[in-house]
Symmetry: C2
Subunit: 327 residues, 2 copies
């Protein structure tokens, strides 16, 4: 039967014949309460169906047990799924640590900065999780300046790597292992299809390919992210006779795959990046980021290895090695 009004800690105290504080102790640190008292109080809690009011508790403790994360507007492309997986994982890991995840949406940087300010000013969250850091990230700078605890999925590109806590995928390691795998299996001429100049993670991934190639040479081309763009770019390349192709994204890999099929080379080994459902459906190999491990890492940055509340951590970074999925 639903009660008209929820029982408060005072009701329980009266029912059990103890003080409010004792009830509070039974709930929050049972070990310091004498067993007989504890049982009495627990019975009262059961009887009244008492459950502590989260709002009152938060006001008193000045802790919300909530972290905020931005949900990017749906991009509509093949990629973008990685961030969703990350948010999924973050929510699960956070729940296991007694934290809730609050979403905020923003279409522009200005809007996002405004949201961050609001969340911090109103004391709505204990910490913030940033995603997709860029060179000279203004959000990170703002949060640092205001002293809001945060950690980022993404490196502080270009600045001190210990500017703030962060976890990132080691893109170079991913393309390196992809390239090595193709070198082993297909031949020496392993080409690379990247994004145009200007993307930090793009050049990180390209670096992995270069490092694995060493002295060998093979074409390196670029295209804006997208299936059609990848197809177009590779169409021109194929006559060159390459042995394999490493792509900076699944969208480009899919385009490359379609071009290869059209050119009568369906067996050309191609590796994408992100291991999206589309690549899986087409049987294209891909480098899989591990957003679950990133999420766990982020929480560890914020709360320490064990704790269940946000505490100040010294800034440090963690690189997660991605996994090559061969199809």
């Amino acid at each position: 039967m639903a009660e008209r009004k929820a029982a408060t800690i005072g009701d329980v105290a009266r029912e059990a014949g103890v003080s409010r504080q004792t009830v509070s102790n039974v709930v929050n640190s049972p070990s310091i309460v004498k067993e007989s008292t504890r049982l009495k109080v627990q019975a009262a809690i059961e009887a009244l169906g008492y459950s502590p009011n989260a709002l009152a508790r938060r006001l008193r403790t000045q802790r919300t047990s909530t972290i905020a994360v931005k949900l990017d507007p749906y991009s509509g492309g093949v990629s973008g799924v990685v961030l969703d997986r990350f948010v999924h994982a973050l929510t699960e890991s956070a729940a296991a640590r007694g934290l809730r995840v609050l979403l905020y949406a923003a279409r522009t940087l200005e809007e996002e900065l405004r949201h961050l300010d609001e969340l911090a000013d109103a004391g709505e969250v204990d910490a913030i999780v940033l995603t997709g850091t860029s060179r000279g990230d203004r959000r990170a700078a703002r949060l640092l300046e205001r002293g809001v605890p945060f950690a980022a999925f993404g490196r502080p590109w270009g600045t001190d790597t210990a500017a703030h806590p962060w976890v990132d995928i080691d893109g170079a390691a991913g393309t390196r292992s992809a390239t090595r795998h193709l070198l082993d299996r297909a031949g020496d001429r392993i080409a690379f299809l990247g994004w145009p100049e200007g993307s930090e993670s793009g050049s990180d991934r390209e670096r992995g390919w270069r490092e694995a190639m060493g002295e060998r040479t093979a074409p390196r081309l670029t295209a804006e992210d997208g299936v059609a763009e990848g197809q177009e770019a590779v169409k021109a390349l194929l006559p060159n006779g390459i042995d394999g192709l490493v792509c900076v994204s699944d969208a480009l890999a899919i385009g490359a795959h379609l071009a290869a099929v059209q050119a009568g080379r369906p067996e050309l080994p191609i590796v994408g990046f992100d291991n999206t459902a589309a690549a899986e459906a087409l049987g294209i190999s891909s480098v899989e980021q591990l957003p679950e491990r990133v999420a766990a890492g982020i929480l560890e940055m914020l709360m320490g290895p064990e704790g269940n509340k946000v505490v100040a951590q010294e800034p440090k970074g963690l690189l997660v090695e991605p996994r090559l999925i061969i199809r």
Copy 2:
């Protein structure tokens, strides 16, 4: 410069030489305050960088301005993106209405029920948004019983359609228009590839095909959701010589497309459902759900057409007509 401690309403009152209540009025209902006083108070607010504390306000008003929504575990398939898009859209629309969105994760029904109880007991949210309703949904029943305001993305299948507020995609309308389109364009024998018995939305979508077909006949087959499954199912069918194919999901449509290509009929018109990135990448037509409209509808159910707080609404449903994307 970051202050050591945030200013409170009392600080502002003292600075402006008025009472706390007057400051509160300036913030919440400026119109009832005399202009001269208002300016004075606003100046003080500026000077101190005051921002109302959300926790205190929530405790006092007993309103959290927060709604909860479940984030499903990453399924890994082609589909599943629709729900992500919905959550995106919900977050944006909610922000526009002054609401925050809190996530919860659950792997099982029991776990979800527990989370719902916790959220309600602790008074953490003003309302809950359910997704993926089923026949005799226990979550809906529980929330109704406890008097927690909620609305669902999904119909109350099988029971009274006004059991609770809901918004859903009109799946039958989607497949109906897809089927009609193929009938116009390709011929009379438009087959249907559905899921095995037992899915409510699956049979809803099949109904749309049946209605559009009328007296005409064409094969109807089923497969578990998945690219490989779809490919397998269609491989056996093609000899029958069909003119087109409507599928209950993009995953099946992609499988069907691959089978058609292999069988030398790449031009076979196929329509999927959900308009996922994978379908787009392969140039497969699809029925697009409109999660943005569902999100807006859900909020209207909870808050009325205009309001910015959750109010009791009479239970009613809304069917959103999906859109056929032709490629």
